[in-house]
């Protein structure tokens, strides 16, 4: 019974596909899965927009949207109707073909990333041998659409925003890939299904998630920072900072194309959080050994929503980083820590099992963190913190 609940979507798919003749069943199964993914994540996106606006609103000591529906829950419907009925303005000197293609390229490449995420036990669309590489290949293609959007608008602000966004995404992409390589080194496979299965074991009731190891924690923190920067999310949202660049690379997009950019950004957030959960937090595996009766897809989507809440929390709390601070941070802190992390995970494997490897790896990482922090702060002459209160 518990097993059937866990596999309920797989069983539903087999039942639906069973109505077709034999040779069409494989293709029909893929089509059904693709339709479900394309339908589910925009629905989650609608939920997340309300969550974000209410959440950021409460952090800023105001209510969020509360007119449409009880507690503003139906706000996405209003937003959807608005974006569908708005006039689609294309500037006269804009490059019409590239302007049209940019949001399409974004949405297509972002949705392709979901093909390799294991959303539950046996619930991955394509079990590829090089699944992680496929995901990063699709993520790299996303940057091209940002550039296309900014350049085709023939608007200096858009171009500036697009250049900044692309520079930021390229820098943090290196950090993203390096922080994921530690997981590949520990597992020995690029396949996301195998990475989750390697974390699905329990010792004394606690799981073998990589985030509970020193190198995994460091890797997860670097991954989280790089993921926040990859999706242009506050505190790294200078490319779309409303007070600096109007709206950055999607200034000249109105109506449904803007909604597509918005959708692409949020779905990219889902997909990168899903990958972070898969790599470091055990994907669909339960946090404690006695909770394995809860279906696996509930754990996956629960972790996804927790990541969303952390993103929203960061957006409401932290101030924006300037472009040079952002680039300095990427190349002078995140990248050296990721490289050191590679060394640490190799040490972890070579020192055998036991308490020694925990001590050595934690010591190296903590010393490096403190050392890089001291070295970075020594050049700035900051005085003691002073507070000013309104009288």
């Amino acid at each position: 019974m518990i097993d059937r609940l866990d596999q309920i979507f797989v069983l539903l798919k087999h039942w639906l596909v069973g109505y077709l003749p034999g040779e069409w069943q494989a293709a029909a199964g893929v089509v059904v899965s693709v339709v479900v993914i394309i339908g589910l994540y925009p629905a989650l996106f609608a939920l997340t927009t309300v969550l974000e606006r209410k959440g950021v609103g409460r952090i800023q000591n105001r209510l969020g949207p509360n007119r449409v529906g009880p507690y503003g829950i139906l706000q996405p419907m209003a937003d959807g109707i608005k974006s569908l009925t708005k006039e689609d303005i294309v500037p006269r000197s804009a490059d019409a073909v590239v302007h049209f293609l940019a949001p399409i390229v974004l949405v297509v490449t972002v949705f392709m990333g979901f093909a390799v995420l294991p959303m539950g036990r046996n619930m991955v669309l394509v079990d590829m041998d090089a699944g992680l590489l496929f995901y990063f290949a699709m993520g790299a293609s996303t940057e091209l659409s940002v550039f296309m959007a900014g350049w085709s608008s023939r608007n200096k602000y858009s171009l500036l925003g697009a250049m900044r966004a692309v520079a930021q995404m390229i820098s943090y992409e290196v950090a993203l890939l390096l922080s994921s390589v530690v997981v590949v080194m520990a597992t020995g496979s690029l396949s996301l299904v195998k990475i989750v299965e390697a974390q699905n074991h329990y010792t004394w009731g606690l799981p073998h998630w990589y985030i509970f190891t020193p190198w995994g924690l460091a890797g997860f923190l670097m991954y989280a920072i790089a993921a926040t920067a990859e999706t242009n999310r506050s505190p790294f949202d200078l490319p779309e900072g409303e007070s600096e660049l109007v709206a950055g690379y999607h200034t000249e997009y109105s109506g449904f194309k803007f909604a597509l950019f918005f959708l692409g950004e949020y779905v990219a957030m889902f997909s990168i959080s899903g990958l972070g959960s898969t790599l470091f937090r055990g994907g669909w595996s339960a946090p404690l050994a006695f909770l394995t009766w809860v279906p696996s897809w509930i754990w996956f989507f629960g972790k996804l929503l927790v990541s969303m809440c952390v993103f929203i929390w960061l957006r409401g709390t932290l101030p924006r980083l300037r472009q040079d601070q952002l680039m300095n941070f990427a190349w002078k802190f995140v990248l050296p820590m990721c490289l050191l992390n590679l060394f640490v995970v190799a040490l972890w494997r070579f020192i055998g099992d036991g308490w020694l490897r925990w001590l050595v790896c934690s010591a190296i990482l903590v010393l490096a963190y403190v050392g890089i922090g001291w070295e970075g702060m020594s050049r700035k002459r900051l005085g003691a913190r002073s507070y000013r209160y309104a009288d």
Partner: protein, 166 residues
């Protein structure tokens, strides 16, 4: 060599042609990206998963963006006044045809020496890693030295600009 190969190669060739025939340089760069994507699809059609995805990651994710940045930061994005075709196109065509015929002859000459395998080998990432660290470690290290030199050169160029401004 089914219908998929023909469609993908048509896409690649059209992308390559568009990359040299279009007037707007940024359009050319984007058409080049389509040609890269076509090459990646060719790799994937041959079941070389790692090569295909690495092609997308490196070429489309980095090289295409580099090309685009280079076009934008120099003033190549304006449409040239004299048109895009050079005046010595006939000599260029002759040289390109000569190179193509030499390469084609070399490839066709080597065809009888290829191993006769009926089933495509299933290369896993494990095997690629073992080969890189085992048999091909010297080329790997040479490429690493090349990349390090490029990185150091980029940093030096950027740093000198800052010192020059002082």
């Amino acid at each position: 060599m089914g219908i998929a190969f023909y469609i993908i190669s048509a896409l690649t060739v059209c992308g390559g042609l568009a990359a040299v025939l279009l007037k707007n340089t940024v359009h050319c760069a984007l058409a080049l990206t389509v040609a890269f994507a076509g090459l990646a699809l060719l790799f994937l059609q041959l079941d070389a998963q790692f090569a295909g995805f690495a092609q997308i990651l490196v070429y489309i994710g980095a090289v295409a963006i580099l090309v685009v940045f280079a076009i934008l930061l120099t003033r190549g994005s304006d449409t040239p006044k004299d048109g895009v075709f050079s005046k010595t196109w006939l000599a260029g065509l002759a040289i390109a045809a000569a190179v193509f015929s030499v390469l084609g002859w070399a490839v066709l000459q080597a065809a009888p020496w290829l191993p006769h395998e009926t089933v495509a080998p299933n290369v896993t990432v494990n095997q690629i890693g073992d080969a890189l660290m085992g048999r091909y470690v010297l080329p790997l290290e040479i490429v690493a030295v090349l990349l390090t030199a490029a990185l150091v050169g980029a940093v030096i160029v950027a740093m000198h600009e800052k010192e020059g401004a002082k």
